[in-house]
Amino acid sequence: MSRPHVIVIGAGSTGAATAHDLALRGLRVTVIERGEVASGTTGRNHCLLHSGGRYCITDQESAIECIDENMILRHIMPDLLELNDGLFVAITEADLAFKERFLEGCAACHIPARDIPVKHAFDMEPFLNPHALAAVQVPDGVFEPFRFCLAFLATARMNGAVVRRYNEVSDVICSGKSVTGVKVNNYLTGKTETLGADLVVNASGPWAGDIAEMAGVKVPVQPTAGVMVTLDCRLCNMVLNRLNKPSDGDIVVPQRATSTIGTTSWKVEDPDLITIPPEHVEKMIIQGEQLLPVVRKIPMRARMAVARPLIVKSDADARTVSRTFECFDHASSGVDGFVTISGGKTTTARVMAERVVDMVCNKLGIAAECRTRDVPLASYRLFFQGGE
């Protein structure tokens, strides 16, 4: 019997990691992406390699996933990370009161956290708000979302996967109650093509609902937009977080010679048509000033907004819904050969892939262990070699 063929829709972090895992387990893989790699949610990213500190009080399941994956990524893509740790900084008395809970939360999620003398923090971060009252150091980092995905996809291609960029899925083909392939518009040639598959993985992030609808099923994904502002100057060596519960504009992520402040959160209907509300940009500056008072004086380099795929569990507020992910086997809704993976974060893409590929292998009756924890990724630059 020839190896089963799996189509992955979407080349964001989830799709890329899934393609890598599938290829590593010996399956035939085709990735369909309507634009450039990481041109959706993954691309417009904070670039924060989470230590889990952000979620250690509100969402410990996510926090544990983060710290585990953080350590694995350091091993499989060491060249693609700025590893300078992060600081959670208390500015107000309320922040300071939060510190004990934060340290306990970190301990509960086995996140290495160090309460450092605030003077030491000023030494490392000369632009930090001089009124800062406390600082806790955690193993945050910075990654590069585009290259993150390219590295997974380059490795997948080396293991035989095919990546079709600029191909948009126009329909999901069903035969009886089973999905048997997809119809795509190939924008490189202007032609429509039909691709057969034994199974289709829907990894299209905030667009997951649209793809699922083509197969006649529903997924509870709520596209939730956020605004980020990038300043034309690097103002901190480490990632700076506000020592408190996650809120709007409470983080500054440095990368190369820039600093990115994020983020806000509001529900959107169409993830393709998001306009940046000017008041959100202003809010980022106001909040950013809390951590780094010079923020307002630095010219803006870019501002961006993108929808994240949050999984709706109840009618909870967008900020408090879980940042963790979920796999949906649509066989339970009567459609076989079709699974959706959504939610999560770029930091946790690998474990998301592991979980969905476990499900895929289970459905296809393949016994293959996940090896993505240990296999270092190929150079992202190889992605572009060897033709389309």
Partner: protein, 128 residues
Amino acid sequence: MEKPLVQETMENPFAKEPKASWGWLLQVVTGVALLALLGLHFIANHFIAKGGLRDFADVVSYLRNPIILVLEVLFLVVVTTHAMLGVRAIVMDFGLSDRAEKRLSQVLAVIGVLTVGYCLWLTWVIIH
């Protein structure tokens, strides 16, 4: 089974060590030499051949001066080298095949030698 498209060991023409090139350095050296020689040429024209080289007789007597002769021959060799290297640089900018590049160098070398040879013959004819 289809073959993987991407391989780590893939042939990369840029990863092979090419032959060391001295062309640019020689171009700069001859260029600077030309600036100096051109200066000397002007001075010589002005002070040795007073009033300039007006007629044939002037040219003959000018070239019979041994210092001038050495200067002019040097000027000739350097200017030809610089010109050939310049032409080569421009053609090389087309990124030819290795074989064509080798052939180009050979052809230009022959043209250069012929040019210098012709001029030396001409000088000999004039002086005698």
